[in-house]
């Protein structure tokens, strides 16, 4: 009976029955206009951001053109700038972070929403919200003093000895690098996934669960086959949120990634991300081309986020259409 559609059909003005002025006097139209302006201002700010980034990066855009995306060299002295190592690093660390955080986060959310007793669920949720509010520099310090030694002494050698035949786990184990950055990012984004997914799972109507149980499914079957698919859109939304944070995270990443613009198949290798290089080099960047190149990197990050979010939404649209968005009852 209940639909999973979240979109409420837009209640437009009652056509023709009242004049504009009478609606205005009653505040309806004002409310509509004001809230429209608020919404439009968000779009406007994003547009202004893109315009500003575009204008400030004219110099490197004219000099390098599309080769900016394909060059690996980042040499401020010779004034050769290429974005490829940074794009690679940003994508790899975000991918590692999501690979770790999504199963853990959704699993934890399912536990908190469906399987845990109330007395356990609420205090745990409090701690998770606390984790989500911790500043990223603190996570960076956690990474430097806690994660790096663990990675260097135990995790990376273990991975090397068991899965060392894969190019992913080869090379010297410094403790810093793509894998460590991915792990720290995962720690940072898990609270987001848990919080939002738990809320969405809790909002699934009781009758869905009860119907599944009534038809003879076990507790786990009703959770996994009925409740979670019902909440799919919300869970995907939480993953987008996590992805956005992982792509843009600066301080925590720069403290553990090694800050070396390299592209390597190995996750043990040090790397660099777009946000990290901008944070590191912006204040001391002398020369207009250098500054422009850093700003162009910012534009690239914006583009990357835009494309990834677009793809994710497209994927969500396609899967929702196929399953018609409702729970498989």
């Amino acid at each position: 009976m209940a639909t999973s559609s979240i979109n409420v059909p837009n209640a437009g003005p009652v056509a023709g029955s009242r004049s504009f002025l009478s609606r205005l006097r009653d505040g309806d139209e004002i409310a509509r206009v004001v809230t429209f302006l608020f919404a439009a201002s968000v779009v406007l700010i994003s547009l202004l951001l893109v315009v500003e980034l575009w204008m400030q990066s004219t110099l490197p855009r004219h000099k390098f053109g599309f080769s900016f995306f394909l060059t690996r060299v980042w040499d401020p002295i010779a004034e050769q700038f290429g974005a490829l190592p940074f794009i690679y690093g940003t994508l790899v660390t975000a991918a590692v972070a999501l690979l770790i955080a999504v199963p853990l986060g959704i699993g934890a959310a399912i536990f908190l929403a469906e399987l845990a007793p109330q007395k356990l669920s609420d205090p745990l949720q409090f701690f998770i919200d606390l984790l989500a509010a911790v500043p990223s520099v603190i996570y960076g310090l956690l990474g430097v003093f806690f994660v790096i030694p663990i990675m260097r002494q135990w995790v990376q050698p273990a991975l090397k000895s068991t899965l060392g035949f894969l190019p992913l786990f080869q090379g010297p184990a410094y403790g810093i690098g793509f894998l460590t950055a991915g792990v720290v990012l995962a720690i940072m984004v898990i609270p987001y996934i848990i919080s939002v997914s738990r809320e969405v799972l809790l909002s699934v109507p009781r009758d869905q669960r009860e119907a599944a149980l009534a038809l003879g499914s076990t507790r786990w079957e009703s959770t996994w086959k009925v409740v979670v698919p019902f909440a799919r859109t919300g869970i995907m939304g939480s993953i987008f949120l996590a992805l956005a944070r992982a792509l843009g995270e600066t301080m925590a990443v720069t403290m553990v990634i090694g800050n070396t613009p390299t592209i390597s198949a190995s996750l043990f290798s040090p790397g660099y991300s777009i946000a990290a290089v901008i944070a590191n080099e912006f204040t001391e960047a002398t020369g207009d081309l250098y500054l422009g190149a850093l700003i162009e990197l910012g534009l690239v990050l914006f583009l990357l986020t835009f494309i990834l979010n677009g793809l994710a939404r497209l994927m969500m649209l396609l899967t929702t259409q196929r399953g018609s968005g409702t729970a498989q009852a």
Binding site: R152, I176, N280, E284
Partner: protein, 341 residues
């Protein structure tokens, strides 16, 4: 209505207060390296003189940019402005900009080799070879040759450098460019360079943190930072052939060694300086003062400050582990102050 008048009066009162704070405020920005001594100086000068000088340590590059744009009254930099930057300044402001060295700093090689607790000796060939990636093991003859009696392991060297743009990097790469023509060709000097090998740490703290965490690593940090944080560091062979460990005396000697060749605009590099006990990786740090001031009051305060800093102010440097300027440089600077108009 009464609430509105009340608020209005309050706002006016605040505005009046702001206007009343008419004391002269001078703004500067630039290098992070001399920030501790500068803030001490500005504080002492304010007590002696009453004028307020505000300094933001945003980095040498930002300091140069801001003083060229005119957002601040003076700048500070660990590396002198190059000809292009000076031309840009002249083009924007119509007159030139002057460099005044204030204190001396040095950069030291620090390392973390399990089992090695002594101060190692580094030759210029060893240092440049390590940072170029050509020397990859600790027991390489280039390093072992200068450290007889030390048991260096056959482990891979992990190079650590700065990831952020920095005056420390400028001094280090300036030295390596002087002692190794390959380095000069391939990498050259700058606040941010294209490092052939190594991991990047953010700030002196980042580099130190990485070195402490990573066995068999080597990096470079500011002498003051190493001294204050008790980081072990090695000696470097200078141009005269002596292995010198950086300290205040050897750094001042490096400056003294180049006094005869110091140009009138004070833009000089004193790395690899002559002198028996001169520390080869030393550098001045400069205040960047515009040649012409529109505001006479600000000009007089700054002139007075520079004069005070290079004379009386030098007495405060030792406590903070900065080396003082040699006398000849001070004399030359005192004469140059009259160029500020």
């Amino acid at each position: 209505m009464r609430r509105i008048t009340g608020m209005l009066l309050f706002v006016l009162a605040l505005g009046g207060l702001a206007l009343a704070q008419n004391a002269l405020l001078i703004n500067g920005a630039g290098a992070t390296f001399p920030y501790p001594i500068y803030s001490k100086w500005f504080d002492e000068y304010h007590k002696a003189n009453g004028s307020q000088i505000n300094y933001q340590s945003v980095g040498s590059g930002a300091g140069i940019k801001q003083v060229t744009e005119g957002t601040v009254d003076f700048g500070a930099s660990d590396g002198p402005m190059n000809d292009d930057q000076i031309k840009a300044y002249k083009a924007k402001n119509g007159s030139g900009i002057l460099h005044f060295p204030t204190v001396l700093g040095a950069v030291v090689p620090t390392y973390n080799i399990p089992g090695v607790n002594v101060a190692l000796n580094f030759t210029p060939e060893a240092l440049s070879g390590i940072f170029l990636g050509r020397i990859s093991k600790w027991n390489d003859p280039a390093i072992a040759g200068a450290n007889k009696g030390v048991n260096l392991p056959a482990n891979d060297i992990v190079v650590i450098h700065r990831s952020d743009g920095s005056g420390t990097t400028y001094i280090w790469t300036d030295y390596l460019s002087k002692v190794n023509p390959d380095w000069k060709d391939k990498v050259s000097k700058g606040t941010s360079v294209n490092w052939p090998v190594g991991l990047g740490g953010k700030g002196n703290e980042g580099v130190t943190g990485l070195i402490k965490q990573t066995p068999n690593s080597i990096g470079y940090v500011e002498l003051i930072y190493a001294a204050q944080n008790k980081v072990p560091y090695g000696s470097v062979k200078n141009a005269a052939g002596t292995f010198v460990k950086a300290d205040l005396a050897s750094v001042t000697e490096a400056a003294a060694g180049s006094v005869k060749t110091i140009p009138d605009d004070f833009r000089v590099s004193i790395t690899n300086a002559p002198g028996k006990n001169a520390y080869p990786i030393s550098s001045f740090t400069w205040l960047l003062i515009p040649e012409k001031f529109k505001d006479a009051a600000k000009r007089d305060v700054l002139k007075g400050f520079v004069k005070w800093a290079i004379t009386d102010g030098q007495g405060l440097t030792e406590n903070l582990s900065y080396a003082k300027l040699p006398k000849e440089v001070v004399d030359k600077e005192l004469k140059a102050i009259s160029k500020i108009q």
